[in-house]
Amino acid sequence: MVRATQLEQVVRHRLPDRLYHWTMAATVLTLLGTGFLPILGWKFEWVMAHWIAGLVLATLVVLHIVRASFWLDFWSMVVGIDDVYSGWRAITRAFGRQGPPPLKPGKYSLLQKLYHLAVAAVILALVATGLLMLLKIDTPLWRRNPYWFPDHAWGVVYAIHDLCAMSVITLLMAHVYFALRPEKLWMSRSMIHGWISKTDYRAHHDPARWPQQQGGR
């Protein structure tokens, strides 16, 4: 039997996606802490925690790609013509020019899609370079072999890893800032509860671009 409250809710993030999000958040914070605190002067045994968290992140990324490709609506996160058109309208209005209002988005807005694209590029580069860097340490699973690449190639791998890791800090700051802004809390709560109200659904989304029946997809 469907409860009355459920009729007023639209599923936005199903449980596996929320678990993915918060596990990824914990993993990224662990990686940032174990990666940067030693540079800032905190001395502790960080290498093992860092590579284990890195392998967890790599596993999560693979699981997310598979889930987004087969269980979620993959195209809901891809920038389309409507997004560009709507984004242009938003920019012109932000600069005080008159014109039609931006279109309501589907599940994700243009800025969310662009943010996701930036995070995806940075995290994939971090995972790829991080996996290569595992060749330089001994673990219970493999022996180190630092001679796979010449020194200058290792330098490029480390430089990419370092720059992407630092850019994660900037991206994370923006992410937390928007999640905590009062006008975004209706959406942020859905990453905890999984749903948004029908009122917010109607106010912020185009049902034609994100049909309610698709809910958590």
């Binding site: 490029v156 630092m166 700051m173």
Partner: protein, 50 residues
Amino acid sequence: MELFRFASSVYGQPVLLGASWGLLGWFVGAGVAFIVAHATYKAVTNWRGP
């Protein structure tokens, strides 16, 4: 400001080690600048009205 870290090889040539950690402050600063700029813009536009 250095963009990269270098060491010297046994032949005395520079070898790239990675990105300079001096950039860390710039990445944090970029995040702070973005947040301040956006919060200011939203405060001003909300004060003016839609």
